[in-house]
Amino acid sequence: MDIHEYQAKELLNNSGVKTLKSVLCRNPEEAYRAYQVLSSSLVAVKAQVHAGGRGKAGGVKIVKSADEAKSIAEKMIGMNLITKQTGKEGKIVRKVLIEEGAAIVKEYYLSVTIDRKISSVVFVVSADGGMEIEEVSKNTPEKILTVSINPMHGVKSFHILKMLLFLGIKKNLYNDFSNLINLLYNAFVKEDMSMLEINPLILTEANLFIPLDAKIILDDNASIRHPYFSDFEDEDEEEPLEIKAKSVGLNYIKLDGNVGCMVNGAGLAMATMDTIKEFGAMPANFLDVGGTADSKRVETAFNILLSDKNVKGIFINIFGGIVKCDMVAKGVITAAKNIGLKLPVVIRLEGTNAETAVKLINNSEMNFIVSRDLADGAKKISDIVNKTKTNL
């Protein structure tokens, strides 16, 4: 789960990590007042969207007066910010963070993530702060240090020393640096983060280490022990159809193609999308209807697929295991009747009670095309949508 910079900083503050003074603003007037409150001549206006790369895209501006803060905020709020990470459609800015300036001596890169390969928390640091770490890692990997932390032992002094020496931080700053690393590690573990990226981490003239930016991803699975996670959700940042799907327990991700997909199981759903592409069409979505594909769920799934106007045909791929194909077929027929489905549908059924299910579909009034093989089904639906395309 992605959260905003201001929320990330709130989490860090609660964990004892100091950040610069800042005020969250939803309109230009608030930005004007925020400038006055901050009592710093240089102030940053930062767009709050769930995406990095804001600086280069015009989502971070430095201002020198309350009037300027107001006018910049006016331009920023409501703008469609397109950064390297938002995709071409961009993200609408709804909030800005007004943050006091700082006298920066040096910028570093620091992130904490989970290394799947070694099942450990790892720190990644670089003295090339402010740069995109993917670029640094590609072009100058020697400028990056990775330090893994054994979860049984936690952060030890030698870990701190390694990072300090690599970053060229002076000995007299050891205690401050050590304190920061320990606080970050504890916050990462205690709050169940999957990623914490501070880019840049700054050293100020007053010899303080301060996260100038902070990006945090929280582990969705851990929401069972952190009720506050739901307060951090921002529906404005998500695709409305995905929110609707989530509310009924469907796993849906919108894509750009025109074949609506309904599949049971995440792996099979991905494989189905891939097969559609192989036959020359593109999937409009990822949709896992899960283990209980009853008529109510299928109906919601149909409605979600149909809300996407790009969808020209639907491919249903069910491998019945514990779920019985005939039950799914009944659900599909009822749901399709209820909503008066008119789009072409190819349905592929295999596994438990597939024969009965095929009969049910064939005997229904629905004009479904039945297939027993994944590739064959994917080819049929791809041919149909490609034909619709040329007819237009």
Binding site: Q85, I114, R116, K117, S119, S120, V121, I133, E134, N150, P151, M152, V189, D192, S194, D219, D220, N221, A222, I224, R225, N251, I253, L255, V263, N264, G265, A266, G267, L268, A269, M270, A271, M273, D274, T275, I276, K277, E278, M282, P283, F286, D288, F319, G320, G321, I322, E350, G351, T352, D373, L374, A375, D376
Partner: protein
């Protein structure tokens, strides 16, 4: 032969009285699995299915002389890590965790505990393990499996059934099939099981079904290149998955440009894995691999 489990394996079910646990425990018994006990806190001294004793803890079961070879964990996500560590401390050799949604931080602790133990863990967030016609510890449909000569490994559920169905229909049949789990941190990797399949005299080839995210398939293919004489067929789901999105499984995510399907396929092919371009041709690719290899 087979790997890890057979008809003699005695199985404990942790979370046996829950909705999922009880449903699937019954299905496993139907398949022929030797389930000897269950554990559910505060349900001790009761019977499941009128015959299987339920205990509050594993320790109680062991005190009553139960010899446990494997455990199947259905405990809810928030408590699952505790149950797995309980099983590790009770020195159960095989732990199969079906539960989905365990926090990653919990799994880091479980992994650390596994590293200091002799237990092997499968999952979490997986369909489990089955040795065809002998023993099923998991939630897969039993009827698609048939005793034969192919080992199957997968990060997915229904996609595995798709592959198994083809392998059975093509007449090969399976030795053992394992769903290793769709989470970023899992008990055992593809490589751990490839090592066992290579040693198993009945397994003649292995089908490995991977997906986007992480580098487990690349590492496994290194092992294939350096240590395996048997052919391995590979498939990767998620060629059309967008970067940065979790495709259903917590571990299926392309992050920082890493973990893409083309990247994995390229490495696997270079290392001598026979690639199935789409899931419909898994059995066909297997035929070719057995002939060519």
């Amino acid at each position: 032969m087979s790997i890890l489990i057979n008809k003699n394996t005695s199985v404990l079910v942790q979370g046996i009285t829950g909705k999922e646990g009880s449903f699937h425990a019954l299905k496993c018994i139907e398949y022929g699995t030797n389930i000897i006990a269950g554990v559910t806190p505060f349900k001790g001294k009761t019977l499941f299915n009128e015959s299987i004793p339920v205990y509050n803890t594993i320790e109680e079961a062991k005190k009553e002389g139960k010899k446990i070879d494997a455990t199947m964990v259905f405990v809810p996500a928030g408590f699952a890590a505790s149950s797995i560590i309980e099983a590790i401390e009770a020195e159960i050799s095989l732990i199969v965790c079906i539960t989905e949604g365990i926090p990653v931080m919990d799994m880091l602790n479980v992994k650390a505990a596994l590293n200091c133990s002799k237990s092997i863990m499968i999952g979490p967030n997986c369909p489990g393990i089955i040795t065809a016609d002998e023993c099923k510890i998991g939630i897969m449909p039993g009827f698609i499996h048939k005793k034969g000569k192919i080992g199957v490994l997968s990060r997915s559920g229904t996609l595995t059934y798709e592959a198994v169905n083809q392998i059975t229909k093509a007449g090969f049949g399976e030795t053992t099939c394992i769903g290793i789990g769709g989470d970023p941190i899992i008990g055992s990797s593809f490589t751990d099981f490839l090592r066992l399949f290579e040693k198993d005299p009945e397994t003649e080839a292995v089908v490995m079904i991977g997906e986007i995210g992480g580098t487990a398939e690349e590492e496994a293919s290194e092992f294939v290149k350096n240590n395996m004489k048997k052919p391995v067929v590979g498939f990767i789901a998620g060629k059309t998955a967008p970067a940065g999105r979790r495709m259903g499984h917590a571990g299926a995510i392309i992050s920082g440009g890493k973990g893409t399907a083309p990247e994995k396929l390229k490495t696997m092919e270079t290392n001598g894995v026979y690639i199935a371009d789409n899931p419909s041709v898994i059995a066909e690719t297997l035929k070719k691999a057995l002939k060519l290899h």
